[in-house]
Symmetry: C4
Subunit: 236 residues, 4 copies
């Protein structure tokens, strides 16, 4: 009974300590993961990173097994969202031991699932989840409108710029990249219209685009405030 | 009677299937259109794209004729918004068969009208239409204010930068491009003020500009929420 | 009495025609002004532009004199906002005839005052004026906060980047330009931090800056909506 | 009693004059500080700047001592927020006299604390403080979400771009800089994805990112309006 309280609960002091320990370990494992991508690491560092990796995965494995052991409905936990996340957080490591080294690159990316383990401890996630759910329909509408706008922009700029800059605006697909960078106002400057028609077209597409691309932030801000209010009222 | 239900209605299973089929075909025809702009396509691909083109236009033509056949007021459909759109979605193809090849470029652009066919099936369009209508007057005010601001920015930066960068800020018209890229915060970086006066002017114009350019997003976001509420209340 | 109605009123048909004529002339004079900045103009074009200039200024002068003639309180009109604007719209031309040609450049800029003549006919201006007035205090607070933030950013980046990029971040004054371009998210890319410290500093300053720089747009959007509502209620 | 009123109060004319004098001196000292970073200053200018520095610090020191002298609870003032700020505004100067010249650079940066002295006289600060406090929790949630998103973006782009641009996207740490510049839409253009995968990834991360990064501005704008209303109601 005590073990269950420590692992699943946050009421006891040991339970909170266990939670903090796991969170710290997630952050630590992500830092070592990031460090491991640095070039020109010494052999000593590489070895240290590998040992860190083995230790953290071992602890996460023990945690996973304990959570199964402690769960009232073992099957329920294994197939629950966090059950799958906990498994995915350790699986990539065991897979890199088993399979050919060439495929490692993409498998190592799966370590990012450890970030999702973090979600269990975050109040922010719950709030975002509620906020997103509330405005799901509007976000889908916005997303399709944005895709529509980006496609139209790409076709338009392709017709204006292709003849003059065939290397930058080779096809509609190439022009899509310009459309994304421009309508989000990122504007890297690697692809820029130079024709008069292309520049006037950019002006009009931006006038329309700015109104549409910035919408979800406004929607999400007000939904997030509503979610906060709801949560505060419940906790009272 | 059954044919009418299939083509115009969404109540029957066949009606929904017909709708999905047309939507899929629109997306397919836009993808092949985009692919056809890629350079260095093999002859086999070009041929495949042309056949795709013939098939989709044939189906759209049959759809158009069926819609006329099925409509209660044939004249009304032909001159309605979607009637015109349906015609424009197939016309460019027949025109490219008839007229000289040199003019093709701009006519091919008309294929974009197929995107508008999509609007018939989209709930988003209706919502945006209501939202835009509600804040039409504010958007016009905003648009004139933005044009005013862009013109003033262009004149100002022309006087500061023309002497030092005559190739970038050749005339007020050339400076307008800088004004658009800067006030929308895209900032490509292809045209940048270098004089002290030009930089200080940019600071002040941005302080005023940021407040104005971002307004329509806020207006549209709240109008879109109102529109959603209205639609939800109606459907209850 | 009729002349007064034509010039000052908008009730009669002649009055509206007079207004449209003046507005058209303003736009025309601004276009010729912009064209006159183009390089490599032919002598014929230059002559045409000068004659255009003479004609428009003559008409604006007649308009100005008529407005004085027609006004109930002549002194009141001359020293009113629009009286001064009307004078400033014609004065630069007479000054360029009188004074040395070298100073022309800055005097020609004064032609922009013709844009302000336009304000008389614009409903947008009234609405923006009300909206700005309502949130004047917040905008001042925002403006001082932005200036504060830009200064702090410039000092910070100067200390991080000066040693490595002495030509880009020569002094705090030079760094201010980077701060303006970054905090407004324009990001031209002409001045970019390269040190680790400078990059981390940029991250934190942007986290704070984004929250502050985008505020006035939100304030202005809601104030503009309030102003619209007030005006609509009045007109009912 | 009079001295206390002059230094701490704003009711008397002398009190207000004292406040304006100190504010002017802060601005003056920050300008001379900025000027002192300019390269190629003449010896005369350097000397003038040093004397300015001595004079302002002397006055600030007198002000600090007077504030201690005048305070009801001397200890309370010294350890209060503004007491510490007043001390930090003069300390760097005395330290540069005492310690080795090499460390000067970072100590000079501490002069920025003089800006905080300014806060005492600003109504804006109070309002921002209230607004920030009200939405503190949301801002923390937003900040962790942004950090999360930036980290995920950096990991993603590292996997797409590292092979093609090993010098730009050397490690996850190097990719973080791209993630910051992109998600804030600054888009300097010094690091740009070139692979198809990287570009598509950028599109999706921007679609999610724009909704999240722009949230705090919306929250802060409405909190600031609430704060203004509260303050106005209190002053009535």
């Amino acid at each position: 009974m005590t073990l269950k309280q420590i692992i699943e609960g946050t009421d006891t002091r040991s339970g909170r300590l266990f939670d903090y320990f796991i969170q710290l370990l997630i952050v630590y494992s992500l830092i070592t993961f990031s460090v491991s991508t640095l070039p020109d690491l010494s052999d000593a560092t590489r070895e240290f990173l590998f040992i860190s990796q083995v230790v953290t995965v071992t602890i996460f494995t023990i945690e996973y097994l304990l959570r199964i052991f402690v769960a009232d409905k073992k099957r329920g936990y294994v197939f629950s969202f966090y059950g799958v996340v906990d498994l995915l957080a350790i699986l990539p490591f065991y897979m890199t031991l088993a399979v050919d080294l060439r495929a490692i690159r993409i498998i190592r990316l799966l370590r990012l699932f450890r970030l999702l383990k973090m979600a269990r401890y975050s109040k922010a996630v719950e709030r975002y989840r509620i906020a997103f759910k509330e405005i799901k329909e509007e976000l889908i509408i916005f997303f399709s409108a944005t895709c529509f706008l980006i496609y139209v922009s790409a076709v338009g700029i392709y017709y204006f710029e292709n003849a003059v800059q065939p290397e930058q605006f080779t096809s509609i697909f190439h022009s899509l990249w310009w459309a994304v960078a421009t309508l989000t106002t990122v504007g890297y400057g690697d692809v820029v219209p130079v024709t008069l028609g292309g520049k006037i077209f950019t002006f009009f597409i931006l006038m329309v685009g700015l109104s549409i691309v910035a919408i979800p932030a406004g929607l999400l801000a007000s939904a997030l405030q509503d979610a906060s209010r709801d949560i505060m009222e419940k906790s009272e």
